[in-house]
């Protein structure tokens, strides 16, 4: 069980407030998800736990990746929303940084739930950590229910193809799957495009040893300059675009859905371009 002793929890919480800077406590107090007498919401999210557990991630956010967040107020303050982002960097630090940003720098903060792979609940400690931080297995049932309850989901339609692409393919958006659009149409929620610039350079994969990957059952086996999971300190630029609302039915033909999905791809691509052009230096 990923239990944090009370003393440790207090230390971590203090660290989070310190790293977050003045006003962090006031902002975090605006978070009021449903909590039963044992401190959890029906999915197992424990906000007190989150504030403590993200301290190391917040350290990465402020001191290592030195994230610059743009347009956080374009994410609606409440109601169901799908945040759609590019995915990169071999390890999903981009997901963590987006979520930390919306929790610590957005006013009022939002807890964003990323969809985890179906085998994550088989991992000790990771399974519990993810659940207490509000991350959920991305079943259609879960997604529908959460969006209907006005929660915010973070999706990466490129999937592992985006995550594991070789360095020479960096910032080339892989084709988006249609699933998120069906979800958005069914739930009637807006889609907020998001782009992360910088994650590509955190673990530049120079080689992908596919035979080794097959041996271990991994989707890919990238060889990077650092030993995974330690990423290079690339500067992150995270940018949110205006919410996009789509009319139509989830049962529309693929061609119709694809049209809409291309629009979102275009929006994400534009945000990536903007981030790349404004970036002065990659690591320093």
């Amino acid at each position: 069980m990923a239990g944090l002793t009370d003393a440790l929890r207090e230390r971590l919480r203090a660290w989070t407030l310190e790293l977050g800077g003045p006003g962090t406590r006031t902002r975090l107090e605006k978070l009021t998800p449903p909590r039963n007498e044992y401190g959890v919401d029906p999915y197992g999210l424990d906000v007190e736990y989150v504030v403590a557990a993200i301290a190391p991630l917040l350290w990465l956010y402020k001191r290592y990746f030195r994230v610059q967040l743009h347009g956080a107020d374009r994410v609606p303050n409440d109601g169901g929303v799908l945040i759609v982002s590019n995915h990169s960097g071999q390890l999903p630090f981009d997901a963590a940084m987006i979520e930390v940003g919306l929790l610590i720098e957005k006013d009022p903060p939002r807890v964003v739930r990323a969809l985890v792979e179906r085998w994550v609940p088989t991992l000790p400690f990771v399974s519990t950590f993810m659940a207490r931080c509000g991350q959920i297995v991305g079943t259609p049932e879960n997604c529908r229910r959460l969006l209907a309850a006005g929660e915010s989901l973070l999706v990466f339609p490129e999937g592992v193809r985006g995550l594991n692409k070789p360095f020479r393919e960096r910032y080339r958006l892989q084709t988006f799957g249609l699933g998120f659009m069906r979800l958005a149409l069914e739930a009637g929620v807006p889609v907020v495009p998001c782009a992360v610039v910088g994650a590509e350079e955190q673990a530049p994969a120079l080689l992908d040893l596919k035979p080794l990957a097959r041996l271990f059952g991994f989707p890919a086996f990238p060889i990077t300059p650092t030993i995974l999971p330690l990423p290079l300190p690339a500067r992150y630029h995270i940018r949110f675009g205006e919410p996009m609302r789509f009319a139509g039915s989830a049962d529309d033909e693929d061609a119709e859905l694809e049209r809409k999905v291309r629009e979102v791809e275009g929006a994400v691509r534009a945000l990536i371009e903007r981030g790349l052009s404004e970036r002065r230096s990659i690591y320093l």
Binding site: A2, P42, P124, S127, T128, N142
Partner: protein
């Protein structure tokens, strides 16, 4: 016929008399105490019915036997609550299968033959099976996958599915199938209760799934509610909510022994085979993975809500005889 059917007190269209199979068990006894105040009750069980209300005629008979039809003839049964399902993992498979599946077939067949208008079958939310890729709130339509990793659950699933097909084949009978979450309380002795009664229960290191519990009295109230005229269908029955396993153990003052997941399964298997524990290793899935259900249909269609709160339900395990 020697005894005429009792005069039944009628309250808001409650059927009378109600036949309860499995009445001699802990849950059956609790149900009898609740129900006999509202309507006439008749009991059937192959065990004697000790310490039950005196005004309940009890027939000690195996429901697979032809003799049980006498009960229907004698009492003009208006409704059935079928609790007579055996969950004992130590029982030989063939015996359990015969009793559960054949017994259920026979008793339901008798309901058709004797014009019983209402049938309530007690199933379990565990039919969905605790699985790592489960959604967080399983609706009644979710596939019944428990037997995939635990073949002993085949009986319960077969029973649930048979009751469903019975429901469709006999629209003249109001069939209700209830799938309550883990039943705990001062008297029940089932796997979850027995686990929570241990001072030092084993847990799997690094796993802390959300768990749903329901008080045995609330299950009895749900069964009585299911007798209501007009209600039919399959319903998950939830208690006061979801809570992490670690919170339950902490509330009960237990000191869990976390065992790494690679070791825990072989360990429990050896212990089970050596008869050191009554928990088969497959039960470990329940303390690792989710099997949490959505109970909103029963709330919506029957007006269900549990009477016992979350802390109360958890602590009800404590008011019980020591293991």
């Amino acid at each position: 016929m020697s005894d005429a059917p009792r005069e039944a007190p009628t309250s808001g269209g409650m059927p009378a008399p109600v036949l309860v199979t499995g009445i001699a068990g802990n849950l059956g006894r609790a149900l009898a105490k609740l129900l006999h105040g509202e309507t006439a009750v008749v009991g059937v069980d192959r065990r004697p019915f000790a310490r039950g209300p005196k005004d309940i005629p009890h027939h000690q008979v195996d429901i697979r036997k032809a003799k049980v039809e006498e009960v229907f003839r004698q009492h003009r049964i208006a409704a059935l609550i079928h609790l007579g399902i055996m969950h004992d993992p130590r029982m030989p498979r063939s015996e359990a299968h015969s009793f559960n599946v054949i017994g259920t077939h026979k008793i339901l067949e008798l309901c058709v033959r004797h014009g019983v208008k209402k049938v309530v079958v007690l199933s379990s939310a565990n039919v969905y099976g605790p699985r790592p890729d489960n959604s967080n709130f399983l609706p009644e339509e979710a596939p019944l996958m428990a037997a995939e990793r635990f073949s002993e659950m085949r009986d319960l699933i077969e029973l649930d599915m048979y009751a469903q097909s019975f429901m469709w084949k006999h629209p003249e009978i109001e069939t209700v199938i209830l799938r309550p979450v883990n039943i705990v309380g001062p008297t029940v002795r089932n796997a979850p209760s027995n686990f929570l009664r241990l001072a030092r229960p084993l847990t799997v290191l690094g796993f802390d799934p959300m768990v749903q519990l329901i008080h045995e009295e609330d299950v009895c109230r749900a069964l009585v509610l299911a007798l209501r005229t007009g209600l039919r269908g399959v319903f998950n029955v939830t208690g006061p909510g979801e809570v992490p396993l670690s919170s339950i153990l902490r509330e009960l003052g237990r000191r869990p022994v976390p065992v790494p997941h690679m070791l825990v399964r072989p360990l429990v298997r050896r212990a089970f085979e050596a008869r050191l524990t009554s928990f088969p290793p497959e039960e470990l899935d329940h303390i690792q993975y989710l099997c949490v259900v959505d109970g909103s249909r029963f709330a919506r269609e029957a007006g269900w809500s549990p009477a016992h709160g979350l802390r109360e339900t958890i602590r009800s395990v404590l008011g019980s005889p020591a293991v």
